[in-house]
Symmetry: C2
Subunit: 357 residues, 2 copies
């Protein structure tokens, strides 16, 4: 091969174009240490060179079903960046993924992440992944790999996005798919910790956070103390999306359906697990919407239906169970309440009734 030596002006390098492979390799060593801290016995060889390997103990299952999900955390990332806090969004991402596959009754096994950025500081990248690792540990999930991509020009300088991928397993005849939901079943709500990971673009629109109005504006908004929140708006907005794995795992066999309240709110998610002939009737009097949502609503003059379509309104997850199992479930699940009931679906009606539309 011929050799083309640069001469005259400084030659172009990949680092000069915004992709510093050497710095990235150092960060990858941090990732590997974090991943190792979450390893389960089934993980073979840690973070492999090109792929992760996880040995499934098939003796534990008759018909194992592999359950998977991909998620992001939305523009909660920008609030976190405005507060200089990067760990929470990593935990959000893992817990969001854990909850999504938990809707089928799956035990989470392993997690991989993607981080795309234009110049996010290496220490912040490590903070994000450390948050993921912490949440993986809490959920008993192995962080087995991931990809960090330097994407000059695609992201705004300093900005980044993260995506999470989770894999779990459930015995086929134990999988929760909504088919056991029956008229007369009870809806039991579990409280959210806050917005979870949805509605942040609207919140940022209201207060102009992460909209180029400057760090001082953003910090002033987020550091504002609210009596009702017993703290700052920023802390309330950054509350970590909780994992429902630990409370639900012991009672999964009693559940006919599980809905994770994500983008689209209660009307967009609760009915997704319902058979066509049934509907969820939500009792709006059954809970007090937490103050954070009312603060957002007032500040943004947001109509009630838009609130319900955009935010979880305090409902993190809803389980469907037989009426006779409800008392024991309400006892077993911290903060749970009876949200409503399963009724025959009137012709042409949506799958969720009783919420503002």
């Amino acid at each position: 091969m011929s050799s083309t030596e640069a001469s005259g002006e400084a030659p172009l390098t990949y680092a000069g174009a915004g992709v510093d492979v050497a710095a990235a390799e150092d960060t990858v060593r941090h990732y590997a240490r974090l991943a190792k801290s979450t390893a389960r016995p089934e993980v073979l060889g840690g973070v492999g060179p090109f792929a992760a390997m996880f040995q499934l103990d098939v003796s534990r299952y008759r018909q194992p079903v592999i359950v998977s999900s991909a998620d992001g955390v939305g523009t909660k990332l920008q609030l976190a960046a405005a507060l200089g806090r990067y760990g929470e969004v990593g935990r959000d991402l893992v817990n969001h993924c854990v909850n999504d596959i938990l809707t089928t009754g799956a035990e989470p096994l392993f997690f991989l992440d993607y981080l795309g950025t234009n110049g996010l500081a290496q220490e912040h990248r490590v903070e994000v992944v450390a948050g993921m690792a912490a949440a993986c540990l809490e959920n008993g999930v192995a962080l087995v790999g991931g990809e960090t991509a330097d994407m000059p020009d695609v992201y705004r300088p300093g900005d980044y996005d993260i995506a999470g991928f989770i894999v779990g397993v459930v015995e086929r005849d134990a999988a929760i798919d909504g088919s056991r939901i029956a008229e007369g079943d009870v809806l039991i709500a579990l409280p959210s910790t806050g917005l979870q990971t949805n509605g942040y673009s609207l919140v940022r629109e209201i207060w102009g956070v992460g909209k180029g109005l400057g760090e001082a504006n953003d910090r002033a908004v987020l550091d504002q103390h609210y009596e009702e929140l017993q703290g700052t708006l920023g802390d309330a907005l950054l509350a970590v999306h909780g994992s429902f794995l630990r409370p639900l795992q012991p009672v999964l066999s009693q559940l006919h359906g599980i809905a994770h309240i994500t983008g689209g709110g209660i009307p967009g998610n609760l009915g997704r697990v319902f058979p066509d002939h049934l509907a969820a009737r939500v009792d709006l009097e059954s809970w007090a919407v937490p103050p954070l949502f009312r603060i957002i609503q007032t500040a943004g003059r947001i109509a009630e239906p838009e609130m319900f379509r955009t935010f979880n309104m305090g409902v993190g997850l809803v389980v469907v169970a037989a009426a006779e199992d409800a008392p024991a479930l309400l006892d077993a699940l911290p903060g749970a309440w009876t949200l409503g009931a399963v009724i025959p679906r009137p012709s042409g009606a949506p799958s969720v009734l009783g919420v503002p539309r």
Copy 2:
């Protein structure tokens, strides 16, 4: 609950903040159709409400190992956007993932995607996912789910990023992990179709593509015809990252190691599968670096070592096999050539020798 009705000025809505849930739902219907076209018999219920379910046929395996990988396609996205072509990058993403888990000998089973964007047109989102679905079909992989996130302010207007997540399976004692690599083994190279998915930020730096110099600049650069390429620079740069699954699947049992040449090039990837006491000796005279790389090198006045660290230089993937199996492999693998050999690693030497450093 109290109802807060908006009055006076138009109330804020999520759509107004850049997140149009209704338009997104229409796009999701297209995704579901595309996903369905790739379904394998193991997929339960298509794209599920919160998670995808894939039933593993455990009777086919003694000790199944679940192999996974997460990837992106880098800023090839921006070249594709400059040319108004969105399908290729979807195919790139799937093939990149397929190759990554193929390094362990795994059969790919299913794929999920993440698409984050600030205002990418709905039809282009569908084009991206249609590209993924086409590549999934070609590789026999089920597209089981994904997430599209509207991220106003995080991405530059109109920009987007994609991440892919793949899951495959391999019998534990058939898994390729480099442990069988021995002195005297032969390195066999398979040709790349072009840059695959690495080095695009450097290429864009050279010609100022996707750097805010305007559509006319970008198109003029990419529409330039090169005699050596027998076509335009844009077409050569957008060549789809090939999948090596079909040619390699029949010969996997003969392979001691597989290296996918991604970010970091031959020096950064070939040695990753090697035991500590062995090294790959690459014979630079064994192939002619394709014209595309020399055009890039000349235009950017890039030093030879930087070229090798940044680009694949025409080598898409390298397999390691016993010398006696080499002739049959060279016959079976289209375009393959003997790239070099496995030698004892000199003390303190890197795992790849013979490439410019």
